[in-house]
């Protein structure tokens, strides 16, 4: 019988302990790799949310705050900015195009984005991909609305359905714009970005919704303005929440940024989205490190568990070792049997761990994607994965030296008849 066969048989002789040890290693492997997967997936999906935009401009607050509400629809703007400022910078000689966005309303928990036609033409995500329509077309009339993939799927909307928007954001809104219903004219293809969860209307429509509102309160009975009358009104938008800027030449980006940040007519702030995202990661990096440390601890605990179980079986196995020695096995052989046992335990733990992770990914990926907007890359292991798996293997091998050394020494002292 070869070494490996002996090790395998001896493991199979203690199925329960072997199974538990393998399980604990498998869990720690899938935890470690899973956290790595979520971490890189989150980064990737954040990074791919907006591309091809040089600057994002909003009211002066924190750069991260501006990035979060304008791109990721997380949190709210402290202030809006005037439409006039947007127009001035849209016409700026160094600006190629600008997309305005206006936030503040919602539809059944989905954010309403007021914007213009440029949004559908210019907005890019995941490198160079543009927004495409699954059905329908961009909005054209005042009460037209274009919805993202998640909105249409979850609420089972189709083109030409009529919907009502609500004032404010949040799942439950107490103030509906029920007097001015919208018609769905387009449904966007899935992008894996917050666009999927957005309801898009024109800036003029945002204005129209609130045309009869006074001091932020709904119109008093009798003061409402009907949709028909609204259509005839001058609906020049007064403000926007933020706007995306693409410059004719990247070289001028810092100059334009300085110009916007020092703009005297209004307190504006321009951020470089990529740079701000990196700053954000630096802050979040601490949390990521904490998660990593926790999963390393889990791994250490599972290795300690393995060593303990091997050590505790050693006294049961004194006879086994003694028999091996009596039929001519060398001391080295006893040592190697234990090392190989750990190898088998670790390798099967790693394999089971990886398969559990992938199974979990396959099963839960759609949920993660739709609920959290987290797109996780599936089948490509990263360099870090190899580093983790490698260090798990080496770590447990090193730890297994302890029981192996004990067995080595015991086999010297013990005779065939173990005195206990």
């Amino acid at each position: 019988m070869t070494l490996i066969q002996i090790a395998r048989k001896s493991l199979l002789n203690r199925k329960a302990t072997t199974f538990l040890t393998v399980l604990s290693i498998a869990f720690s492997v899938s935890l470690l790799l899973g956290i790595e997967r979520v971490r890189s997936g989150a980064r990737k999906s954040f990074e791919s949310t907006v591309s091809g935009v040089d600057l994002i401009v909003g009211a002066r607050s924190g750069p991260v705050n501006l990035l979060l509400y304008s791109v990721f629809r997380i949190g709210n703007a402290t202030n809006n900015i005037s439409h006039q400022s947007f127009e001035e910078f849209r016409k700026h000689e160094k600006v190629k195009w600008a997309i305005p966005i206006s936030l503040g309303d919602s539809h059944k928990g989905f954010r309403v984005i007021g914007t213009n036609q440029n949004y559908f033409l210019r907005y890019k995500y995941a490198g160079d991909q543009k927004l495409t329509f699954k059905k329908g077309k961009p909005f054209k009339e005042l009460f037209d609305v274009v919805v993202g993939a998640d909105v249409s799927e979850k609420l089972q909307y189709k083109v030409s359905d009529k919907i009502t928007l609500s004032h404010g954001s949040g799942d439950v809104s107490f103030q509906d714009h029920a007097d001015k219903p919208f018609t769905i004219v387009g449904i966007l293809n899935r992008t894996g970005t917050p666009v999927d969860k957005s309801v898009h209307i024109s800036l003029e429509a945002i204005k129209a919704l609130h045309v009869d509102w006074q001091d932020g309160a709904p119109p008093r009975p009798g003061k409402e303005i009907s949709p028909e009358r609204t259509l005839k009104m001058d609906l020049k938008p007064s403000d926007v929440t933020a706007f995306f800027v693409k410059l004719s030449s990247r070289i001028s980006v810092f100059n334009v940024q300085r110009e916007i940040n020092g703009y005297e007519a209004e307190a504006l702030m321009a951020i470089l989205p990529g740079v701000t995202l990196r700053d954000l990661w630096e802050t979040i990096g601490i949390v990521e490190k904490a998660l990593l440390i926790v999963s390393i601890f889990v791994f250490v605990v599972s290795i300690v568990g393995m060593v303990i179980s091997l050590l505790s079986t050693l006294s049961e196995r004194r006879r086994e070792m003694a028999i091996l020695r009596s039929i001519g096995a060398k001391k080295r052989f006893v040592f190697s049997v234990l090392i190989i046992e750990t190898c088998i335990l670790t390798v099967s733990g790693i394999l089971i761990g990886i398969s559990t992770l992938y199974l979990g990914l396959v099963l839960f990926r759609p949920i993660l994607e739709s609920k959290m907007g987290l797109t996780l890359g599936l089948l490509s292991p990263t360099f870090n994965d190899f580093v983790y798996v490698g260090s798990i293997f080496i770590g447990s091998l090193l730890a297994s030296v302890i029981p192996a050394w004990r067995a080595y020494k015991n086999s010297l002292a013990d005779g065939l008849i173990v005195k206990s």
């Binding site: 990247r250 070289i251 740079v275 990196r278």
Partner: protein
């Protein structure tokens, strides 16, 4: 008639005044000793790198040079910074060549500048003493430009860090450079 003219003049004067008051700049730039800025942008085959650093970081004082030694210090700093390759190291494969001469502006504020006092309110013109350096390169293979290394940390001991921001075709980058990690990576 006279009274009307006087009233008119008064009105006019107040409007001018209020206009002036309105337009007075109240923006203040940050100025932190030991910390400068590096901005990098590419477009087509052009690369522009701008560095702004407090004069204190480069020459060790922030006032008009009063002695010969101080004047020499400024001049030698300018001489060093003028040669792009002595300050910046770019990957050879990118084939970036300095275009024209580098622009260097050493703004030295008026008045004595004592060490250890607070920055605000001491400069009459609200200008901080700073070095503004601008390099322009033309690159034959800009795709290979994957890092920029700043060499001046060694030369100027007062220069502790540079907040670097970069915008290239690949994306946007940021990093705080210092003498231990002077390389600004431009890869994802």
């Amino acid at each position: 008639m006279k009274q009307i003219v006087v009233i008119f003049l008064c009105l006019f004067a107040t409007t001018i005044q209020s206009k002036e008051g309105h337009h007075k700049k109240r923006h203040h730039k940050a100025h932190e000793h030991g910390s400068g800025k590096l901005n990098l942008a590419t477009d087509g085959n052009k690369l522009v790198i701008k560095i702004e650093a407090p004069a204190n970081d480069i020459v060790g004082f922030e006032h008009k040079p009063s002695t010969k030694e101080q004047r020499n210090k400024i001049n030698s700093a300018i001489k060093f910074l003028k040669v792009a390759s002595s300050n910046l190291q770019l990957p050879r494969a990118s084939g970036c060549k300095p275009e024209g001469s580098s622009k260097i502006k050493a703004k030295m504020a008026e008045g004595e500048h004592e060490e250890g006092h607070e920055e605000e309110g001491h400069h009459k013109d609200e200008e901080h003493s700073e070095f503004h350096i601008s390099y322009t390169f033309t690159c034959s293979n800009i795709e290979s430009l994957n890092y920029v290394k700043v060499l001046s940390f060694k030369k100027f001991k007062g220069m502790k860090k540079l907040k670097a921001q970069g915008v290239t075709k690949t994306g946007q980058f940021s990093k705080t450079l210092n003498s231990k990690s002077p390389q600004f990576d431009l890869r994802k």
